[in-house]
Amino acid sequence: MTATETRVVGKRLPKLDAPDKVSGRIQYADDLDIPGMLTGAILRSPHAHARIVSIDVSKAEALPGVKAVIHAGNVQQRPFGYGHDNLPLKDRKVRCVGDEVAAVAAIDEATAKRALGLIDVVYEVLPAVVDPLEALEDGAPLIHDERLDIDGNVSMRWDFETGDVDKAAEEAAVIVEGTYSSPLAAPGAIETHVVIASFDRSGHLTVWSPVHMVFMYRKELADTLGLDWGNITIKQPPVGGSFGGKIDIDTHDFICVLLAEAAQRPVKLAMSREEEFIGTRTRQPIHFKLRTGADADGNILFRDTHVISDNGAYNAWGSHAMLVAMNTVTSLYRVPNSRMRCAVVYTNKSYGGSVRGFGNPQSTFAVEQQLEEIADALGRDPMELRIQNANQAGDVTPQGLKITTCGLTQCLESVKEASGWNERRGKMKDRYRGLGAAAFIHVGGGARIYGSDGCGAMIKMDDSGQISLISGSSELGQGSETALAMIVAEEVGVPMSKVRVIHSDTDVKPWDVGVHASRTTFVAGNAARLAAGRARDKLLAAAAEVLGKDDLVIEDGVISSRSEPERAMPYDKAIRRLLLREEGNVIMSTAFYDPPTENQDKGYIGNISATYGFGAHVAEVEVDPGTGQVKLLNLWTAHDVGRAINPSAVEGQIEGGAVMGIGLALTEELPVRVEVGELMAPNLHDYGLPTMVDAPRIHVDLIETNDPLGPFGAKGIGEGGLIPVPAAVANAVADAVGIRPRQFPLRPWKVLDWIQTGETSNVVKGAGRG
């Protein structure tokens, strides 16, 4: 498919907000100050599982400078979260270390902290369970014991099946079976969560929060605290990184509002780094037991999975990560038969949210390692096996995913070529070096998980010629604001400098699901393009009256007739012409774009995204056989991006995602002390975010397939960069030293242990056929 010719789209343009960011002028939530604002602080549970016997706040209330002390006994709150299993301030029980028990608002931080120390909470400590397998055992402590509708510690189950897996297993020439685990990890944004809440004297609530599913945030705030959601404004300060961590409402958001209500003063609540690790959402550990089978020709016949997702104490977004993990099991490559049985299990620890990749890095880690093992068993080159099984445009996968455009084969060819795969894989073992590959599939055209997957957009043109796009979406730093401005400039036919984007105030902007699932460029971009086209048509109609022609076009801000190009006028004159006269009018337009997708049925079948993103990575590692240290030497990536609206921004997403993936693959984890359920080292020093020296230069190849539904051909690309990295690194380690990593991160001591114990093949049928 050929790309539409464009003047703005496709250019490497700087981000609109970059000058203010490099000069430190952008004001994030913690940079905001409101007269009379108080400082909030939260008292958190030191126990993973305990009954709250009593709370005495009288000493804290008596401390001069304290303006409000709240706990479950003196606020109005309702349960929230999927299955309503959580409360902002816990009432009878705490279920993980960090659970919110009470909170204070005071004139300054020192007073607030001193007040927390004066609150007396008596706990009756209960046995805790932090391992999901133990949580499933008979007699395990019940985490939500008061809820008779919950099946033991199983929060939910996800079961999927297509085709006949058992028959396929009989027919398979090769079967690989293994168990793969991933750690508790963190989104790791450099800005911690900060929220400010303020009620005015008429009772209207304004909240400043760097959240990015803002309309749902407002609804959940109102539902949980019994407020009128029509009487709440959410303002979104610039976000200092989220990666899913700031996607929606968190307990501290409710608490901040409760404090502001109790004190009747503005309150700011800023998470310390330690609280960020302990008290905000994580990437939950997932345990995959996977079997893959193929026939003697290397055609994948089936995948069969048992998954245990370690949910933590409550249901946040993480409970739904199976949705995405499942797409990979059923639909990465052509897989005629697949089965997935998942249990999402409560444990007494920090609970999982929606972190970039959302279940997919974990799933891909299992699926893509088995692909290479099958190839090895058959004596086939894994890259060739991937190409043989690759999804193709026009496929509908057994789960119902409609593959409209698909650059997977091109991506595989690209990284194969760039990495010198044919010459180098399997041939560097003498130097303990290896190459490993992994591909991915991920939603790239929205993800329908609610009744609507839509986004609103409005265009306003004013007398100066300024064009404002008011978008429902949010900028997280990824550059969506710039991409949306480019789409509008392109569609109207004006220079970029004429377009401004407004997207951070619910009083102004139209509804949107929010930023998640790599959907903003696709969904908000289509909405912006539709609204811009409608505004342009109004503009041309106004110009037609003056120019007396109806074959008008607009380019670089000049409206002219196609047949008589000398009949022309600047576009801003047309705006004024319509405005400044009797019975004049403003040029405004609206659009709402909801992608043509469907909700999944009860069997999890349905086309949830209007298009899918694909990509492939090759990692090159060197392993120190004496220490187990894995050094990543190179990472080649190729991504089917549909069309790059702004190639620099797209590369930025892939490079940034890839380095997050490197962290997941090699270093990032939050170890939990088993008996007591607390994090051993909730700090940035130990957590293992990759630094500049840990990450090599990321090689990026953008493959353009021009998706017919994408705005100017674009697909969503926000998450793909990280998804295949742990799998590619594990495969490279396998190539280098012949072991099979069963979990990430690949910390040196684990790798050393695998080398020493000889964790090798998972092939259970047909080994060594090649």
């Binding site: 780094r273 730093g477 550059g479 590369e651 890839a658 700090n683 940035l684 230069r697």
Partner: protein, 154 residues
Amino acid sequence: MRIELMVNGDPVSRLVEGSESLLDLLRNDLGLVGTKWGCLTGDCGACTVLVNSEPVVSCLKACAQLDGSTVTTIEGLTPTHGLSDLQQAFVDHFATQCGFCTPGMIMAAEALVNSGVPADEAAIREGLSGNLCRCTGYNKIVDAVMSVIEQRNA
């Protein structure tokens, strides 16, 4: 104790307590909120400023040690009009995404470039390894810094 120092070219005289950090002074007292914080334990580099031209994580720097010092923050580095060459290079190379690490990164990079580091990728990476960025994957930051070293050497 009383300290006298110059911050971005302006004299500052303050009575400080033992525990007060330079970051507190800058953000909470002087309102210079361009300097960010991500950890307060010296691990992220977001709070980097220049003290007597050396890069310092301001969250760990006690004010009591600063008598007679010269401090430059991102606000002081920014020219009255436009941007410095390094800031412009960050804009042109797409080296900022969320921007939260950016002021600290630019201060550290300014010191690194001024130290006469060679136009060498490994040296740049090593020199800036105390500054975490979760967004960019670092390629584009390295490219921005590299371009400035080359420009200034030319």
